[in-house]
């Protein structure tokens, strides 16, 4: 089954059984995991904006998946009318490995609002992230930090989480080529690129962006794995590995249909 999260009319957890995990997982983020509670392949990716202001996306520096998915999440959460600028912070290593934002390639509704910060060290990047989160005139903040620098400790990530939640500015932190160290991010994703669907008019060309996202740690959602696709209007999630065929059965039993 394929569930959609539309940008124009946000649907959050629709359906009769949608609220079960919220009640279970509200007390502790450890509730998700083993046992009969786990139903990872049937849920849409949560909308991480409202409940969660701080998410980390682990990605390889060889691909632009991390930043791409972070932008897709940001677009998905931000309202249409929000015309505030947004901040993109990169440290020097991230800038060297994965390049600089290119305005013609950004989503059209975000192009003219980008403020870019090229920080020399991870310490400066963290400072810029925190100052950006304190600013009420920013729509969201995207950070890109390469590796596991000493400055990005658990304390630093906790600082970022608190500032983001106090001031209500969401933060997507892209960790390039990083190991899964300690962090207080409310959601932690592992992102890789996924083969795109063939475009309608030129099947030989690369299609619309697709990512394979693994949510391996979250405070308000069980972990899971999805193929996420962004067609410029809607961010859709479908189960991986089966091309959507098996998922079409959805929640009902196969015998019924």
């Amino acid at each position: 089954m394929e569930r959609q999260v539309s940008r124009s009319s946000p649907v959050r957890g629709g359906g009769p059984s949608a609220g079960w995990w919220r009640g279970l997982a509200s007390g502790s983020h450890l509730a998700c995991g083993e046992g009969p509670l786990r139903q990872p392949f049937r849920l849409p990716p949560p909308r991480i904006g409202e409940e969660t202001k701080h998410a980390e996306l682990f990605a390889a520096s060889r691909e632009a998946s991390g930043a791409g998915l972070a932008l897709a999440f940001a677009l998905d959460q931000a309202g249409q009318g929000d015309q505030r600028p947004w901040l993109w912070v990169q440290d020097a290593a991230a800038l060297r490995l994965s390049g600089r934002p290119y305005r013609p390639g950004l989503p059209p509704s975000l192009r003219h609002r980008l403020l870019h910060v090229a920080a020399k060290s991870p310490e400066d990047a963290l400072f810029a992230l925190e100052e950006g989160l304190r600013c009420r005139d920013l729509a969201f903040v995207i950070g890109e930090i390469a590796g596991n620098p000493k400055a990005l400790s658990f304390t630093a990530s906790r600082r970022l989480s608190l500032v983001a939640e106090v001031h209500g500015v969401p933060l997507w932190l892209v960790r390039l080529d990083a190991a899964r160290d300690l962090s207080s991010a409310r959601q932690r994703w592992e992102v890789t690129a996924a083969p795109s669907l063939a475009p309608r008019w030129n099947p030989a060309a690369p299609g619309l962006p697709a990512w394979q996202g693994t949510l391996f740690r979250a405070r308000n959602h069980p972990p899971g794995e999805w193929i996420l696709r962004d067609d410029g209007h809607v961010l859709t999630a479908s189960p991986p590995h089966n091309g959507g065929v098996a998922g079409a059965a959805g929640d009902r039993s196969l015998a019924a249909g």
Partner: protein, 501 residues
């Protein structure tokens, strides 16, 4: 009214050094040695002229004394005089290097008529030790002409004649004067003898008034308006604290700085201004002055913001025996209207404004670290965007048509990749980048982008761009630099330039 301070430089020098009876000249250095820019009366008697080189003048007058000229000081004096001259009229304008223009329309009766006004001006300037030639006329151009070339203290009534003055009275540059002299036109009256369209044809390609006698003639008679820039006094907001006891410790300095910022905010508030640039000067007991300068992204009037930004710049100050005077000057201000404070106390906790955020970032990371991309009308990928200051509005440009998909990120330098392709001009099949092999499953291209011939040299090679996707779904923007048969180098090489979403 035009005032010509014919000997401003030498008068100013004599005011400073006392009158001298022996020949004195002011010199300035030029490419061909020292050159005379001003002389006193004794030097003129001895045959020295302005503009000759010092060695030639010494040959004529061996006892000539010299002093260096100071054009910047002369201009500063002229600016002060222009403000002072507003006692005779509502506004005045500079006429560099040595003249003033004062608007006296409708005010002459306060001084007893134009003649009496000129007498008053002449006496007061003479009392300040300045020789001046004065004239009153209906237009600025006519007053200037009479002051420089007319009789002493001339008053021109409306419709008066200026035909006998030389053409130099039209404020033309030397090249145009030379042309007119070669044409045999020596006086202003001679110009009106020539047919107007003949003059217009002769100077049709010249727009600048100083090179076009027809425009100057019309300005003289008032047929063409001549806008002048008035001089306005604008003292910068300044606050200072004299300290009873010289301070040597940082905590006390922060306290003084906070007080200064509060005072400055009060002064700025009174004038409805916000500071863009602030200069802090600290006078130490041993006579040294420490200067610190702060530039702000947007006009501000927040004392704690100013204090915080300055605090980062005070870390390396050596107080020595102590600081006895601190002064804060807002040397660049912009209008900032008073705004009503938010009634909600909770608004205090709602975060910083964008300008404050950018200030904090650029103070710590440097001014070039925070920037904003702006599109540029160029089809060459690297030139299609440029980076501006974050709050710079930029130029209004037309958004280019998006026929082709562009990558999300661009590497600062395209990286060389090894590509295996089906045929010399065919699609790439696999490539090796940063030590790993990528099998291309899908490709789109080529999108051929030719170099901008008006910028590049002739041998620049074109680029064939391909958008490719590998087996893992990673999408890249690669290009072949050149064409095998273009005759501009060897076998074309492949580069990876962008990472697509």
């Amino acid at each position: 009214m035009a005032v010509w301070l014919a000997r401003l430089a030498i008068d100013r020098w004599q005011l400073a050094d006392g009158p001298r009876a022996d020949p004195v000249a002011l010199i300035s250095d030029s490419a061909h040695g020292p050159r005379i820019t001003a002389i006193n009366a004794a030097a003129r008697e001895a045959g020295v002229r302005v503009g000759t080189s010092l060695t030639d003048a010494r040959a004529l007058c061996p006892e000539l004394a010299v002093a260096p000229a100071d054009p910047a000081g002369d201009l500063a004096l002229l600016e002060k005089l222009a403000l002072w001259a507003q006692r005779w009229g509502p506004w005045s304008a500079l006429d560099p290097p040595d003249g003033l223009l004062v608007d006296v329309s409708g005010v002459a009766h306060l001084f007893g008529g134009e003649k009496a006004l000129l007498v008053d001006v002449g006496e007061r300037l003479a009392a300040r030790g300045l020789t001046a030639r004065l004239a009153v006329a209906p237009t600025a151009g006519a007053a200037w002409a009479l002051a420089h070339y007319g009789p002493e203290r001339a008053v021109l009534e409306a419709g008066g004649a200026l035909a006998e003055l030389p053409v130099a009275a039209l404020r033309l540059d030397p090249a145009t004067l030379l042309v007119l002299r070669r044409l045999g036109l020596k006086r202003i009256g001679d110009l009106s003898g020539v047919a107007r369209d003949a003059l217009a044809r002769r100077f049709r390609s010249v727009r600048a008034p100083a090179a076009n006698p027809l425009v100057r003639l019309d300005q003289l008679t008032g047929k063409v308006p001549e806008p002048l820039l008035p001089v306005l006094a604008a003292p910068p907001p300044l606050v200072q604290r004299r300290l009873i006891e010289p301070i040597r410790h940082r905590a006390l300095l922060d306290q003084v700085l906070g007080d200064l910022a509060d005072d400055m905010v009060r002064v700025l508030e009174g004038q409805a201004l916000g500071a863009r640039r602030l200069d802090l000067a600290l006078w130490k007991v041993d006579g040294e002055v420490v200067q610190r300068r702060l530039e702000l992204a947007a006009a501000t009037r927040a004392a704690d913001h100013i204090t915080r930004l300055f605090a980062a710049k005070l870390d390396d100050i050596d107080a020595g025996f102590g600081i006895e005077l601190a002064r804060l000057t807002a040397s660049w201000c912009e209008p900032l209207a008073l705004s009503q404070r938010d009634f909600e106390a909770a608004a205090e906790a709602h975060g910083t404004s964008l300008a404050a955020c950018i200030d904090r970032l650029s103070i710590r990371l440097g001014t070039g670290a925070v920037r904003r991309p702006e599109p540029v009308a160029s089809h060459w990928p690297e030139r299609a965007q440029r980076w501006l200051a974050p709050l710079d509005p930029g130029r209004a440009t037309q958004e280019s048509l998006a026929f082709n998909v562009r990558p999300l990120k661009l590497l600062d330098r395209p990286e060389l990749i090894a590509v295996i392709h089906a045929s010399p001009d065919g699609l790439p099949r696999r490539f090796r980048w940063r030590g790993a092999l990528h099998e291309v499953t899908r490709a789109e291209g080529p999108e051929r982008i030719a170099p901008e011939w008006w910028r590049e040299r002739g041998a620049a090679r074109l680029r064939d761009y391909y958008r490719v996707e590998d087996t893992a779904g990673r999408r890249y923007w690669i290009y072949r630099h050149g064409h095998a048969a273009d005759g501009r180098g060897g076998v074309p090489e492949w580069y990876l330039q962008g990472l697509c979403v």
